[in-house]
């Protein structure tokens, strides 16, 4: 693919830059390659020739246009350009149209038969439509050329993350693994514990203050029933055993107070 920058010469011939397109069909042979590559195929080349000669495509002088088309083709061949098959197919088609126009119609009864040029005209028209559409598309205001997305940095860097989901089974699996490993170390003893005591220990610790004493009885909630009371009691005992709590009682049978150890 040739890259033709906007303001750079269209072609260089013997080192001389060509800034303008050749005014007529004559093209310096060295520039032809660039020139021909600019065509988007045989239909494009045909349209160019038609425009160049200001022809009515409904009334294409097939003989003349075919001659010119073939001239280009032979030039391409001389220059050993890779001649795409499409150009040759078009040449054959033009030749066929020309021959059908030359031959007298042997069956005048079937005069309804289409002008052999009709299909060529239809295709030229159709292709021309999309040439126009491409131009219209190109002239639409578009990003990066006419419009620019307004985009600014944010002060805060990293995006919020949605934390990953965790299932209870994952937790249990993890625990099983870690306990199995701990077993291997053999130094740690995994006790079977009543979870609710452990939970209550955390709750008690939370409720207690390190500075002020809390009445022992305030930790119990009657609505929890006997089990709840027992669990809380066990939790307090365990916390005392782990020396996380401080217990105070002024005298026997006086209210008991608890506070977190500092």
């Amino acid at each position: 693919m040739t890259t033709v920058a906007e303001k750079s010469p269209l072609a260089k011939v013997s080192g001389e830059p060509y800034l303008q397109w050749p005014p007529d069909l004559y093209i310096p042979p060295d520039a032809l390659e660039v020139f021909l590559e600019a065509f988007e195929g045989p239909l494009d080349l045909l349209l160019y020739l038609i425009r160049r000669h200001n022809l009515n495509i409904l009334d294409i002088p097939i003989a003349e246009i075919t001659r010119q088309y073939m001239d280009y083709l032979s030039l391409m061949q001389d220059l050993q350009l890779d001649l795409a098959a499409e150009y040759l197919v078009m040449a054959a088609w033009l030749a066929e149209i020309k021959s059908r126009l030359l031959l007298p119609d042997p069956t005048p009864a079937e005069a309804e038969e289409e002008d052999p040029r009709a299909e060529l005209v239809r295709r030229l028209q159709e292709y021309e439509r999309f040439q126009q559409a491409a131009k219209a598309l190109d002239s639409l205001p578009r990003l990066e050329r006419d419009l620019f997305v307004a985009n600014v940095e944010t002060v805060e860097g990293p995006p919020a993350r949605i934390p990953p989901p965790v299932g209870l089974a994952d937790l249990l699996g993890a625990l099983r693994d870690v306990l199995a490993r701990a077993e291997l170390f053999g130094r740690h003893h995994v006790r079977r514990e009543t979870l609710s005591v452990r939970e209550r220990m955390s709750q008690v610790l939370e409720r207690l203050d390190a500075l002020r004493f809390t009445p022992f009885t305030a930790l119990f909630r009657p609505e929890e029933g006997r089990m709840g009371t027992v669990v809380t009691f066990l939790a307090v005992l365990e916390l005392l055993r782990e020396t996380l709590l401080e217990l105070a009682q002024a005298e026997p049978f006086a209210p008991i107070y608890l506070r977190k150890r500092l």
């Binding site: 033709v4 397109w21 988007e40 425009r51 021309e128």
Partner: protein, 201 residues
């Protein structure tokens, strides 16, 4: 707490891409999520507030976007050394065919253009996320059917395909021949804006 219209502006500016109403309302915690109508009203207020400024609010296929209006492109484009990408005629013709005739197969594109389609063009169009395969034609070989994307519409500042310039009817044959010759002097038809892009992207 900042005003709703300022929040919308901030979010659109930070996004740098069109945001749908859904995504816009998704930035509010559920308890504070404005009604769609409230959001729409705020958006129109923001659009009005942009008047005379260096930014405009547009609705394109992908949603709402703040962009620098075309009137400023002379200054903005001087910001970068490189010129904006120009697309080859081959690419634009192919894109036009896909846009107006979608869904369309590669063979159908080639039939209209009369030339085989370089795969680099299709690659560029797909890399830019302008076209996508939407199905296959049930004929031998099951060729892929191509259509344009939201991104294509967004890039060309369009809200929907119906905003494309109308496809001209096949033109009067005399016009095709005549008009273009004038053109040919200044600006040969074979080559308007032909900086090739396909292979780079």
């Amino acid at each position: 707490m900042p005003e709703l219209i300022a929040i919308i502006e901030a979010v659109l500016l930070a996004a740098g891409e069109p945001l749908s109403l859904e995504r816009l309302s998704g930035v509010f915690p559920e308890a504070e999520r404005p009604e769609r109508e409230v959001l729409r009203t705020a958006l129109s207020e923001l659009a009005i507030a942009c008047a005379g400024r260096g930014v405009e609010l547009v609705e394109v296929a992908g949603g709402f976007r703040l962009q620098v209006p075309q009137a400023f492109s002379p200054w903005v484009s001087r910001l970068w050394e490189e010129r904006a990408a120009h697309y080859s005629r081959a690419l634009l013709e192919t894109l036009a065919l896909i846009a107006y005739r979608q869904p369309i197969t590669r063979g159908e594109i080639e039939a209209v253009r009369g030339v085989s389609l370089s795969s680099s063009i299709m690659k560029t169009l797909q890399e830019r996320d302008w076209i996508k395969v939407v199905g296959h034609r049930e004929v031998p070989g099951r060729p892929a059917l191509y259509a344009t994307t939201h991104t294509f519409l967004d890039y060309f500042n369009l809200k929907s395909l119906s905003d494309l310039p109308p496809l001209v009817a096949a033109r009067e044959p005399e016009i095709i021949g005549a008009e273009v010759d004038l053109h040919a002097q200044a600006n040969p038809p074979a080559l308007s804006g032909d900086t090739r892009m396909e292979s780079s992207s």
